[in-house]
């Protein structure tokens, strides 16, 4: 009797758990997106959802490196599409976490701008389509500091007014690349003296930084928790639009340019919907909605006409005439990359 009672209790508990959890399992017609934070307006997702009768879920990450780390930590096969930056597309392909498609799979493939069609990180666009491109440097609250900001000294050798009030992106690729630009050394250097100098620079600068925060890079500037901070150009434009006197810098030493791309992930549970979504994003109207939201620049034809006047003329998207050319983040070989990983670990510990 008591035995029956016990087993019954357990059985019903287990049964209840499974019945309830089965209800929440995804139905047919779903799409799982792994995306950067605050990078796509809800309306665009809703529109896709409605047009194709697909249930959309989205998770967010805050750096290219954590995207890869998560996928390799067993999340591959959970997501359909992700949006890595240029160098990460190449790394991810080499790591074998991307799936490829044919141009004929996407009827809007022809909408991709010519200069973004045959890119070095994805020749012929076999794995990715352009999402947005922009730059990364830093911004300063002009109410608090009115000196010259067009130098990377602001971040790595800050004036007294800014020391201790600087937020850094929590992103290995971007921090190390900007530091290399500051020192004038090549990326992926394996020269011992150069790497030691890079390590020393970061160690010396660290006490002058207040925090590492990518998701909050805009908010710390808006709320006043930080006076200067590394940031993406469009994110800085959003901060300025929230009414704070923030200026984005195109430093004379150089800055980072990047292009984020929608990639098809390997073992995507909903491959067809992923392709539908990518095709949907190549519609000028949809990409324009994203561009107006994110405040960067699209790589799709026919978007420019649909942008707001404010964005077309924004100082963040229009570098001054004397600004140097930006540099893309380079992909290093394994031995070199390990040294850079070590420098980052040293910085963060």
């Amino acid at each position: 009797m008591k035995q029956r009672f016990t087993t019954k209790l357990i059985q019903s508990a287990v049964a209840a758990a499974f019945v309830l959890s089965a209800n929440t399992a995804s139905a047919e017609g779903s799409l799982s997106i792994y995306h950067w934070f605050e990078y796509i307006p809800q309306e665009v997702l809703d529109k896709f959802s409605k047009e194709y009768d697909v249930e959309v879920t989205m998770d967010t990450y805050d750096s290219n490196e954590s995207l890869l780390a998560t996928l390799k930590a067993g999340k591959l096969g959970s997501y359909d599409v992700a949006v890595p930056g240029d160098y990460m597309v190449e790394i991810m392909r080499n790591e074998g976490v991307l799936d490829s498609f044919e141009p004929s799979d996407l009827s809007n493939f022809g909408n991709i701008m010519d200069q973004w069609l045959d890119v070095s990180f994805d020749p012929g666009r076999k794995n990715s389509i352009p999402y947005q491109w922009g730059s990364t440097s830093f911004s300063v609250n002009r109410d608090m500091y009115d000196g010259d900001i067009r130098t990377t000294d602001i971040i790595f050798n800050p004036p007294e007014e800014l020391a201790g009030k600087i937020n850094m992106l929590d992103s290995q690729g971007e921090v190390l690349a900007l530091a290399s630009i500051h020192l004038g050394i090549p990326q992926c250097s394996s020269d011992r003296d150069q790497l030691k100098a890079l390590n020393a620079l970061l160690q010396e600068a660290k006490p002058k930084w207040a925090s590492f925060n990518s998701d909050g890079a805009k908010d710390v500037l808006v709320s006043g928790d930080a006076v200067a901070g590394m940031i993406y150009n469009g994110f800085s434009a959003k901060a300025r639009n929230e009414g704070v006197n923030i200026e984005y810098s195109y430093p004379k030493e150089g800055f980072i340019v990047w292009m984020d791309n929608v990639v098809l992930l390997k073992d995507a549970p909903n491959r067809d919907n992923a392709l539908k979504f990518m095709n949907f994003l190549l519609e000028p109207e949809n990409m324009a909605a994203i561009t107006n939201f994110a405040q960067y620049t699209a790589g799709v034809k026919g978007v420019n006409e649909l942008l707001t006047e404010a964005l077309k003329t924004s100082p963040e998207s229009n570098p001054p005439a004397d600004a140097p050319a930006g540099s893309f983040i380079a992909v290093c070989d394994e031995a070199t990359q390990k040294l850079y990983d070590q420098i980052w670990t040293n910085l963060k510990k």
Binding site: K2, F5, T6, L20, T24, A25, S32, Q42, T57, Y79
Partner: protein
């Protein structure tokens, strides 16, 4: 008792410290509650009373996201608390209604192990476990992890209650030819109910609160309220977060009130004496 001079008990300044302690505990919560009614886009400036952020929570752009997260949180908490309470009730019977036996203290330690292991360690271990056995993280993985750490929280109040109930109750029932199961369901369980309810509520609230473990074991596209709030807060504290926080705060207060009422419904001995 009253003969003891209360003056001996009295220490000057302790009242002040108590008031200070309560002020510390409540000030930040009250500030968030007050600012959730702020009629302003900026969270810093006060621009008058308004319910706009509550309206935003239920009819805003992010309503769907938070609704799903709330549903996940609540359904997981209900199931985890139910499973943990059943397991804990049986365990409490086994521990408190048995004579001394070898391994009894080891068993006690095992049941309370989830309390002793730091949450971050449990989170890491569970993530590694799921990954090693190839279990796909998702809703079910959160549920499983929650059941485990809810067990001791359900066990402690149930066990405390059971300790206060003499075994003569169920023995009398069995003397009257009730089976052991009947003695449990008809006699002992009703007596234990306040403890079971307290344990259930505690497990429920602990599951609802959990962030660290959930953050590690949640699967693609699954958010609970704490992980959704954490994600939003990383991008900055918005007024709608304050409104959601206030609502969650009220739910917690409601639960602690229920638990308090149930706890006051008296132990069997005090019922006899009253």
């Amino acid at each position: 008792m009253a003969s003891i001079n209360t003056n001996i008990k009295h220490y000057p300044g302790f009242l002040a410290v108590t008031v200070f302690c309560l002020f510390l505990l409540y000030a930040p919560l009250l500030v968030v509650m007050v600012y959730s009614f702020n009629d302003s886009l900026s969270i810093v400036k006060w621009e008058g009373f308004s319910l706009r952020w509550y309206h935003d929570v239920f009819n805003g752009k992010e309503t769907a996201k938070y609704k799903t997260a709330a549903w996940n949180s609540i359904s997981i908490a209900v199931m985890a608390a139910t499973a943990a309470t059943i397991i804990a009730t049986l365990a409490a019977l086994g521990m408190n209604r048995s004579a001394q036996w070898r391994g009894k203290s080891a068993s006690f330690a095992l049941i309370n192990l989830p309390l002793m292991v730091p949450e971050i360690v449990t989170a890491v271990a569970t993530l590694i476990f799921f990954s090693a056995i190839g279990f796909k993280t998702g809703y079910t993985s959160i549920l499983i992890a929650h059941i485990v750490f809810c067990i001791p929280f359900a066990y402690l109040p149930i066990s405390a209650r059971l300790q206060g109930i003499e075994s003569s109750y169920e023995q009398a029932a069995m003397d009257l030819y009730a089976t052991r199961t009947q003695a449990f369901t008809k006699v002992l369980m009703p007596l234990m109910m306040p403890g079971i309810i307290s344990g259930y509520l505690l497990a429920f609230i602990i599951s609802l609160d959990d962030f660290i473990i959930t953050n590690f074991v949640k699967g693609a596209g699954i958010e609970t309220l704490p992980t959704a709030i954490f994600g939003a807060v990383k991008q900055g504290i918005k007024p709608n977060i304050m409104a959601i926080s206030t609502l969650m705060l009220l739910v917690s207060v409601l639960f602690v009130c229920i638990s308090y009422m149930v706890g006051r419904s008296g132990s069997p001995t005090s019922q006899n004496s009253e």
